[in-house]
Each structure stands twice: as C-alpha cells, then as structure tokens.
C-alpha cells in the first residue's frame, strides 16, 4: 500500500471537497436503524462530517432493522427513495441490485482504492457483477466470548480460549454458583452461537460449505459432527431462564456476576461500558478460535435521477469510508473500522484485538449474512434453534434437517 499516494489522495479530497460543498448545500436523507445509544452517537459522527462539508443530513432512523428495510424498500418501489439506506453487510441487498434499484458507486470506490483497503471478504460482499454497490461502514465481530473476571477467579479456573475449555471449566463455575454460559435462547442468538462453534471446531471452509453446498460432504465431515456435539454440549451450560431471554439481559447476568460468560457480538461491549465496568479487571473478551466472524452494516444508494442527489450519494459514499469518519464512527459504535489500514491504537483493547485478527486474511471469516440470502439464513436458523431447544435430537437428525433446509432455500 502506497502511503504517499494515499496521503495525496486524502489531502486532495480534504482540500477539494469542502469548497465543492460550500458552493451549494446538498441534501441527503439517510434511512437507518442505528437507534440505540451508542449507535445513534456513531451515526451522529457521520452526520457531523457531512454537515462540516456543507451538506444537510436528514436523519430517518427506524428502530428495528427488519422494519427499516421494509420501509426503505417500499419507498424505493414507490418512487420516493431515501438518498442512502442501510443494510446488513451481505446478500440482503443483492436482490435489490438485481432489480436495478440501486446506483453503483464504482467510481468512488476506484478513485479511493477501496479494493486495497478493505478485507477481501468484504469486497466480495459489497460487490455485485464486479461493481461496488455498497459502502461497508463497520465490521462487527460476532464470535466474542465475554466473561466476568471475578467469576473465573472464584471458580479457580482460567478464562477459556475456546469452547472445549469453556465446557471443561463449567463444572467448577457451576459449583461456584455461576451460570457457565449466559445464553439468551432466541433464534438469532442460537444461530450466532452455532456459527461460532462451527468455525471454531470445523474451520471456515466447512462453515461456508454447510450453507452453500448440497453434496453433503461438509455436512457429513467428522469436524462438523464434532462441532454439533460441542454445540449440543453447550446446552448444559445455560440456565433455566435462558429460553426467550434477550441478549442484553444475558449480558447483564455476566455484568452482575450471575453468569460467567456469554458469546455475543462486540455490541455487547456497550453494555459493560454503560454499567461502568472496566475491561481487564471486571470483564474480558476473547475471540473464539479459527477466525474472526465478521458481520456489519453497509450503506446503499437507491437509484435516483436527480443530479444533485447523485452528487450527494457520491460524496456520502466517500465520506463514510474516509479514515477519520471510520475511526470516529466505530469507536462510538463498538465495532471495528471496515478498512484495515487504520491506526487503531486509540481504540479499546477488544477492538484492537479484533483489528489484529482482521489484518490476517486467514482470520477473516464473513458471517452467514455475507454469503447467504435471508431465506437461507432463516431456513437454517429454524433448524438450529429447534436443535438447540431439543436435547433429544441426534446429530444425524440435525444434519438431515439442515440439509433439507439448505436445499429448500437454494
């Protein structure tokens, strides 16, 4: 990566853009679902950057991603699209692209060398037919194990580095009066845990192949089978109040010292911070082995004909992935920047740990959303959550159901 070129680029834009912006105030309506405390503070960083460039930011925040997406898509269909719209990184917006409803932002991408600063899997996820259609704005690590430091001290065991160690530590944790794994039994949380276990036990290739292939090879591999066994064994580590519990209530169990660990994305960090806990002394974070499972958000740009709107789109696309905005946004959001060329020494310990993992291409694992349609995600999610809730279901039954879910949705 040529730092000098990059420096010149950045400097040029820093110089050129404000003047362009001041000439005429451009309006941009941004539809998103960043509505929780940290999220809203994060999006405010973007809005401020846009305002500083002379733009007018019209904020349309709709709590709950599903509703926000439905509203956005309906507005696109109804001919009244927002300037920018949020999606989760991945296949979610591919159908929108295929229906010719989005503007590509390839120009901005190539002008700013996005292909060189973004992780490979992220480029794949935001490209369609070889063109950029989305700006990745963050990466959320999804396979973090959060733990209560005190709990492990009391139980006299080391905080686990992987699931086997967690299972091994469980009896002592239980004896000391802790819930070994404070899991919230809602289908997406079950799925998050499942994917983390599969990557940890079977590796990222098999993880991807169980969803994307139908030949049964990955599904019947011994590694996947051992992942299923581990996943099943984790059931014993939860408590009776687990089914249906929301993730934040589970995080709260870890914070208040009732639970020892929770597997959750890095958004859980905000809960620890809000509760006034210190990393290292009160709680700790570990990425589960074999890769950093990356989720995250992107922004897409609905097709507009108005030249001014198009200009606003290009400008926002550029701004959203600029170094300063990336750093400021992700610090507030609790995620890590989408570009790997940033100096993250000012970010917290967990974020740095995540960033280190991200810089190694081997460790980059796109989450299920990166490659699977919401249909496929949903179909397999039903099977996973059913398996998690049904201790009597055997691995063979699970594999059979999983295979038929994949087949039906592909």
């Amino acid at each position: 990566m040529n730092t000098i070129t990059r420096f010149i680029c950045t400097a040029t834009f820093a110089f050129v853009l404000p003047t362009a912006g001041q000439a005429q105030e451009i309006k941009a309506e941004v539809l998103h679902w960043w509505t929780s405390g940290g999220e809203a503070a994060a999006i405010a960083e973007m809005a401020n950057a846009f305002k500083a460039e002379g733009g007018e930011w019209i904020d349309t925040a709709i709590a709950n991603g599903e509703q926000a997406r439905t509203a956005g898509i309906n507005r696109i269909v109804g001919g009244n699209p927002p300037t920018v719209m949020q999606f989760n990184t991945g296949a979610q917006f591919h159908e929108v692209v295929d229906n010719g409803m989005l503007n590509p932002i390839e120009d901005v991408a190539s002008a700013n060398n996005w292909r060189e600063v973004l992780p490979e899997v992220l480029i794949e996820a935001t490209n369609r037919n070889g063109e950029f259609y989305a700006v990745p704005v963050n990466i959320h690590g999804q396979n973090w194990l959060w733990y209560n430091v005190e709990a492990f001290k009391k139980a006299g065991v080391e905080p686990p580095k992987d699931f086997d160690e967690l299972i091994a530590a469980a009896p002592k944790l239980k004896e000391a009066g802790f819930i070994p794994l404070a899991h919230g039994g809602q289908n997406w949380q079950d799925h998050l845990l499942f994917d983390a276990v599969v990557v940890a036990k079977a590796g990222k290739e098999i993880f991807k192949n169980i969803y994307l292939t139908t030949d049964g090879e990955a599904l019947n591999s011994p590694d996947f089978r051992s992942a299923i066994e581990t996943f099943a064994a984790l059931r014993e580590l939860t408590d009776e109040g687990s089914p249906g519990r929301s993730w934040n209530d589970s995080t709260n169990l870890v914070i208040t010292g009732k639970g020892a660990t929770q597997l959750m994305g890095d958004w859980a960090k905000g809960e620890f911070i809000a509760a006034g806990k210190t990393i290292g002394t009160d709680y700790g974070c570990t990425v589960m082995p074999n890769g950093y499972i990356m989720g995250g958000d992107v922004c897409v740009f609905p097709k507009v004909d108005d030249e001014e709107q198009k200009a606003a789109q290009s400008k926002l696309a550029e701004l959203m992935l600029s170094q300063d905005v990336q750093l400021a946004f992700n610090k507030k959001k609790g995620s890590v920047p989408a570009r790997v060329d940033l100096d993250v020494s000012s970010m917290d310990e967990c974020a740095q740990q995540g960033m280190t993992a991200l810089k190694d291409p081997e460790q980059q694992v796109g989450s299920i959303n990166y490659f699977a349609s919401s249909d496929l995600t949903g179909a397999t999610r039903d099977v996973i959550t059913q398996f998690w809730a049904t201790p009597s279901m055997t691995a063979d039954e699970f594999i059979e159901k999983f295979a038929s879910a994949v087949k039906s949705a592909s």
Partner: protein, 301 residues
C-alpha cells in the same frame, strides 16, 4: 347476533344515492377482500423473494411448505390450541355462567372479574402471563420461595408444554366472553323447566347438562364461531409471550407468514402459507355463512 333477521319481505326502494352509498364498501370488497386475496394466491405460485414477481413455478412453494418442519409444527400447534382453547373456554365459561346463575350474592362483581380480561389486548395478556409463568421470577420461584424446593412449573420454557401456556393465557382472556353469552342464554330459559325438573327429582347437574345445555345450542354456536376467529388470528399473544420459542415450539401459522414476509423476505413461501390459512378457514366457514346469511335472503317468506 340477529342472524335470523333478514331482509326477506321488507319493502325496499331503488335509489341512485343508495348505490353511491354502497360504493366505498364495494370498493373495499373488490380491491381489498377479493383483489388482495387473489393477488396473494397468485403470488404463492411464483418464486417471489424480496419483491413480487409474476413468474410461474407451479406448486413448488407448497411442496416446500409441506416439507418445512416449522410449518408443520405451526399447524400442529394451531390445532392443539384451537381444540383446547375452544373446549376450555366453553367448559369454563359454561361452569361460570351456571354457577353465577345460582342467584349468588355479588353477581355483578363476579361477572366483572370474569369478563375484564376480554377487554385487554393479546399483547397485554401475553406480557402478563409470560411474567407470571417465567420460571426464574414467576410462579415457580414463588413455589420455591414458599418452601417447596422441588416445585417445578417451567412449561413456558419447555418445548412440549409451551403451547399449553398459550392456551391457558388465551382461556383466561376469552372464557369470560363465553360466560357472558351463555349467561344471557340461561336467563332466557323458562323457570318452569327447573321447577318441573325438581318435581321429577332430576339432579341439578343432569338438569343443566341434559336439559339446559341443548337449549343453549345457538349461543354455543355463536361462541364457537367467535372463538374460532381468534384461533385463526392467533399472533399477538405468541409474539408477546414466547416469540415462537423455545426453538420453534410455539410457532403458529400467522407468525410463520409474518416472519417470512418481513424478516425472511420470502414472499413466495409466505403467500403459500397464507393461502393455506385461507383454504382452511374458507372450508370451515363457507357453508356456515351460506346457511346463515345468503340462503335465507333468497327464501322469501
């Protein structure tokens, strides 16, 4: 319900204004009730995902639906729920009505207590009951706090039992309605019947079961119809109480459809499931509606 009162024999007048006045309702029927229904049925034969498209894939969404375990769980649940909920409401409602009808003191108070849940929404009902039945702070904890260490009531988090908790909550909400309807019926029963029964030495339970109950037939039909409608529409209660869990154990067809429309972006499968709901309801209701409303209108007295 005055279903027997029809227009047969009433003189009516033709008038342009009357035609115009019926336009909104007709528009609603044509556009929404018929139009949207046909559109949904049509979509169920397409491969639509996020956006509706109008290709033709035959019955493939249906075959996928029937292979879908979650859907079969949902159907099974709605059958269990339907039978137990209707039966439960009828039995409890009937008992309440009969007992209240014994000229008890404070009848109005009892009636008020038994009927008030019916004024509450299913969301409120669901939240109240999920709090009450939650094993970590609800009735199970209560039992243990009272000294019964092994007291267990964890149906809400147990796959095989969770649907029954929804039944209980729904009966709590709906049986007052049945009581109300049947009580009105009981009040219409001729008192001399009871006197005659007393003279014949017929015990009270036989009097109510074999003499009064058959007289309440029309009221029971009304109650069953009413309850069946809430069975088919069962959605809010499940969302508020269990979100369909644990696992997929308390899923119901309406939730299956909603999730596939809006969360899964799978319009084809969702419309297929909605069409199945439609077929189920129509096959039960069409004869009844025909019998009650359409046929008598043509049978001029």
């Amino acid at each position: 319900m005055d279903s027997q009162i029809t227009n047969a024999g009433r003189p009516r007048f033709r008038n342009l204004a009357a035609v115009i006045a019926l336009i909104p309702a007709t528009a609603a029927v044509v556009v929404v009730y018929i139009g949207c229904m046909l559109w949904t049925v049509r979509l169920s034969f397409t491969s639509s995902k996020l956006l509706p498209i109008f290709d033709w894939v035959g019955l493939s969404q249906y075959s996928r639906l029937f292979l879908n375990e979650r859907f079969s769980v949902a159907v099974e649940n709605i059958v269990i729920f339907g039978v137990l909920f209707i039966a439960g409401c009828l039995i409890l409602g009937f008992l309440l009505a009969v007992f209240i009808d014994q000229k008890v003191r404070g009848e109005a108070v009892f009636r008020t207590i038994f009927l008030y849940p019916y004024a509450m929404s299913f969301v409120v009902t669901g939240l109240a009951w999920q709090w009450f039945l939650n094993p970590t702070h609800g009735v199970q904890k209560l039992g243990r706090d009272l000294g019964f260490e092994n007291f267990t009531f964890n149906w809400l988090v147990t796959q095989d039992m969770v649907i029954y908790t929804i039944v209980i909550a729904a009966i709590w909400q709906g049986s007052g309605l049945v009581m109300c309807i049947l009580l009105a019926g009981l009040r219409g029963v001729d008192e001399s019947l009871w006197k005659a029964a007393r003279v014949d030495g017929i015990p009270a339970w036989r009097y109510y079961l074999f003499i009064v109950l058959p007289l309440l037939g029309p009221m029971i039909v009304t109650a069953v119809v009413l309850l069946s409608i809430s069975v088919v529409k069962l959605y809010d209660l499940v969302v508020a109480m269990t979100k369909g869990g644990p696992g997929i154990a308390s899923d119901v067809p309406a939730k299956f459809v909603m999730d596939h429309f809006f969360e899964r972006n799978n319009v084809g499968l969702a419309t297929a499931a909605a069409t199945m709901m439609l077929i189920a309801v129509a096959s039960i209701l069409a004869p009844w509606l025909y019998q009650t409303y359409i046929r008598p209108a043509g049978r001029v007295a």
